[in-house]
């Protein structure tokens, strides 16, 4: 059970990291030697404080997938950074996320990769194993960043084989968006969104009486799979075992979660055959009352003229609160020739953006850094802080390479069940059996 021991090592390594700078440096050396993409020796730059860069002028290429309403916020931050750091010039390139994840490995292989980038937390271990990105333990160590500066699951998710590969920038959880006018029309209090499963179903029943199908259950990954995962965790389950050896999403909590979503249709709270994006469009048009969607939806709804909307944490349908979240994390790409000046500058950049991530939060995100998340400025961001209040109840996939391949099977099961093609238990069972085979092959492939 190589996987579970490596996971334990990871946990221990993180504890050591918290214990003191000495052990953190040791860990960094271990990570460097043990991780497949480790630098040849201890970095000179590691010892310099990454808050200032005094070397010769360097250019940094910074790539990401912020093509939506979030792009301008990051661009402004980068411009400010460039203004304050005359010897570092950061150039930001934006691609569609899907293109980005295909393009970056190709560029890195060709020796034309960028210096700094953003990755979703689920993609970090795969890219670490494929040697696209390099370990950042020395950065974390020299900034004295620890788990307690972030939230434990977000921070842990960036570790692969005892080495840290990513520094969290933000988390973007699911929230419950609702149309205030529709809710009020059905005689419900638009300022008191339902908090429990019983409240939620009662509200849907009231809406049904008023002729509104309140919660459109979408069979597509955005965000049907996320809703399923959130419910599953609320019912006390996990998608995979902690060591990612087996898929656990077909167990009882998973079946309960998926059945609950399917029941929305059979009870008449949702139409059948909901298409992609139709759930959110329905909300905007007053055809639905609730939509569990990502925090990025704030931008979409803000642009809708004359729409009165609100957002709340996901109601607790199961036994405990839980919500899906993604997380954007900083990564540094492997280069053919190591350039210590660029590395040092990259660290200054990452640290600076992280410290100024309140500006980023304004673009519709929850900052990963605790001090910023708990600051008055973030609390003043009405919608973001409501969604951010779920921070201690978020779940992430186990950080093993290739985990997205296995979790893609969940999409199929959710699709089959919500389109009423298969019973939830049968759909999940088949998907889990396939996911187990994928996990097994991934262990072989990535040598875990």
């Amino acid at each position: 059970m190589a996987v579970s021991s490596s996971h334990n090592l990871t946990r221990r390594g993180l504890l050591a990291l918290g214990a003191g700078a000495g052990s953190a440096l040791l860990l960094s050396a271990c990570g460097g030697g043990g991780g497949p993409a480790g630098p040849a020796g201890p970095s000179k730059a590691a010892s310099a404080a990454p808050t200032t860069y005094t070397g010769p002028k360097v250019d940094l290429a910074f790539w990401n997938g912020f093509t939506g309403g979030d792009g301008p916020f990051m661009k402004k931050l980068v411009e400010r950074f460039n203004g304050e750091h005359p010897n570092i010039k950061v150039t930001m390139n934006v691609y569609q996320w899907a293109d980005y994840y295909a393009k970056v490995p190709a560029a890195v292989t060709a020796g034309q990769g960028p210096d700094v980038g953003i990755m979703h937390v689920d993609s970090v271990p795969t890219n670490a194993a494929r040697q696209v990105i390099v370990p950042l333990d020395d950065l974390a160590a020299s900034l004295s960043l620890t788990e307690s500066d972030f939230s434990p699951p977000v921070w842990k998710a960036g570790v692969y084989r005892n080495a840290r590969y990513a520094i969290p920038l933000d988390v973007h959880p699911l929230g419950m968006f609702y149309n205030k006018a529709v809710v009020a029309e059905a005689g419900l209090d638009p300022d008191k969104p339902p908090r429990t499963g019983a409240d939620y179903l009662a509200a849907l029943e009231e809406l049904k009486k008023a002729g509104i199908q309140g919660h459109w259950a979408t069979p597509f990954p955005f965000t049907g799979t996320f809703q399923f995962g959130s419910l599953l965790h609320q019912f006390g389950g996990t998608l995979f075992s902690a060591d990612a050896a087996t898929a656990t999403f077909a167990q009882e909590p998973g079946v309960k979660a998926l059945s609950w979503l399917v029941d929305l249709i059979t009870k008449g709270y949702s139409p059948k055959n909901v298409g992609q994006d139709a759930d959110l469009i329905a909300l905007k048009n007053g055809k639905a009352a609730y939509n569990w969607n990502g925090i990025w939806t704030i931008n979409t709804l803000n642009e809708a003229e004359g729409l009165e909307w609100g957002v709340a944490p996901l109601p607790v349908i199961g036994d405990q609160p839980a919500a899906w979240a993604g997380s954007h994390q900083f990564v540094v790409f492997k280069q053919r020739a190591r350039d210590d000046d660029k590395l040092a500058a990259a660290k200054v950049f990452i640290n600076w953006i992280s410290q100024h991530s309140i500006e980023w939060a304004k673009g519709g995100q929850v900052p990963a850094r605790k001090t910023i998340r708990e600051g008055a400025e973030f609390k003043a961001l009405e919608h973001q802080s409501v969604i951010g209040s779920q921070i201690d109840h978020l779940y992430f996939l186990p950080p093993v390479p290739g985990i997205p391949d296995a979790s893609a099977q969940i999409d199929t099961a959710v699709n089959q069940a919500i389109l009423l093609k298969k019973e939830p238990a049968a759909a999940l069972g088949e998907a889990a059996a396939k996911a187990d085979k994928i996990l097994e092959q991934n262990r072989k492939k990535y040598g875990a």
Binding site: T67, K103, T300
Partner: protein, 275 residues
């Protein structure tokens, strides 16, 4: 009677045309709606209020993207590749249709056979080859490899086989060599086929969006499809912007078609064979 038949015929044609053009009108109208109206339930067809916001987003946009530069890159890449295909495919097709040499049958079979190989198999190997050639992140990568496909050769060979041989035979008797026959007789006779191949090749390159992901890194060398996909955003549902991008990208391609199809009409019938 004749007039009745003519008008019935126009009616049928127009009916077909409306079916074809309806969705395109919807696209153009959507590009001229506000985002709110574009996602309204029930949907509208003609905009209640016309707005060019979708186009505005593309040009000044969120990222101040070099749309005109992408446009130029698309033009250069598609034109250059089309010319290259016309050159190499027509000569090879002539050899396969008109010359006798050993191994011709098997060679043709191999060329057509490669059409059966899904292009995804070739993607990563081609990426590695283009890397070796030093063409990554340059327009060369968008021009040359795509010209090697078997489509043009197969297409022109089929057309050359259908050409009447009488003129060529007469020229041979007069002592003309193959280059002369190819340039002076076969190519002029094949104007409809060449124009058709040119349009199809141009469009194929113009709309290509997977290969550029792997070989182009700098926004300066982007063509329109990857460029527009950046502008259209990932999470936000902004149909007018998507449709505006589509209209923008398709107008030049449509102009090329209208110009080129004149050569299709003025094919054999006007090149001296009539009567």
């Amino acid at each position: 009677m004749k007039a009745l038949r003519a008008s019935a015929w126009y009616l049928m044609l127009t009916g077909f045309a409306i079916l074809v053009i309806g969705p395109l009108l919807w696209m153009v109208f959507t590009s001229l709606k506000s985002n709110g109206e574009a996602t309204r339930i029930p949907p509208t067809f003609v905009p209640e209020r016309f707005t060019a916001d979708g186009y505005g987003t593309l040009f000044e946009g969120r990222t101040q993207a070099p749309v005109l530069r992408w446009f130029a890159n698309s033009m250069i890449a598609a034109t250059a590749q089309t010319l290259l295909i016309l050159l190499v495919a027509s000569t090879a097709a002539y050899a396969l249709a008109r010359l006798e040499f050993r191994g011709k049958g098997p060679l043709f079979a191999v060329i057509v056979g490669t059409l059966l190989v899904p292009s995804f198999v070739l993607l990563i190997p081609n990426f590695l080859i283009v890397d070796r050639l030093g063409w990554l992140d340059s327009l060369w990568a968008l021009i040359v490899p795509g010209a090697a496909g078997a489509f043009g050769v197969f297409f022109l060979r089929q057309f050359f086989l259908g050409l009447p041989r009488e003129l060529e035979e007469a020229a041979t008797i007069e002592g003309a060599n193959h280059l002369h026959i190819f340039v002076k007789i076969v190519l002029p006779l094949s104007r409809p086929a060449l124009a058709t191949l040119a349009v199809l090749s141009f469009l194929g390159n113009w709309n290509e969006f997977i290969w550029p992901i792997y070989v182009i890194f700098s926004p300066d060398y982007f063509t329109l499809p990857p460029g527009l996909s950046i502008l259209q955003g990932a999470y936000t549902i902004d149909y007018p912007v998507i449709m505006a991008g589509a209209v923008l990208a398709s107008v030049p391609a449509l102009i090329i078609f209208v110009v080129a199809q004149r050569y299709v009409i003025e094919g054999v019938s006007r090149t001296g064979l009539k009567g």
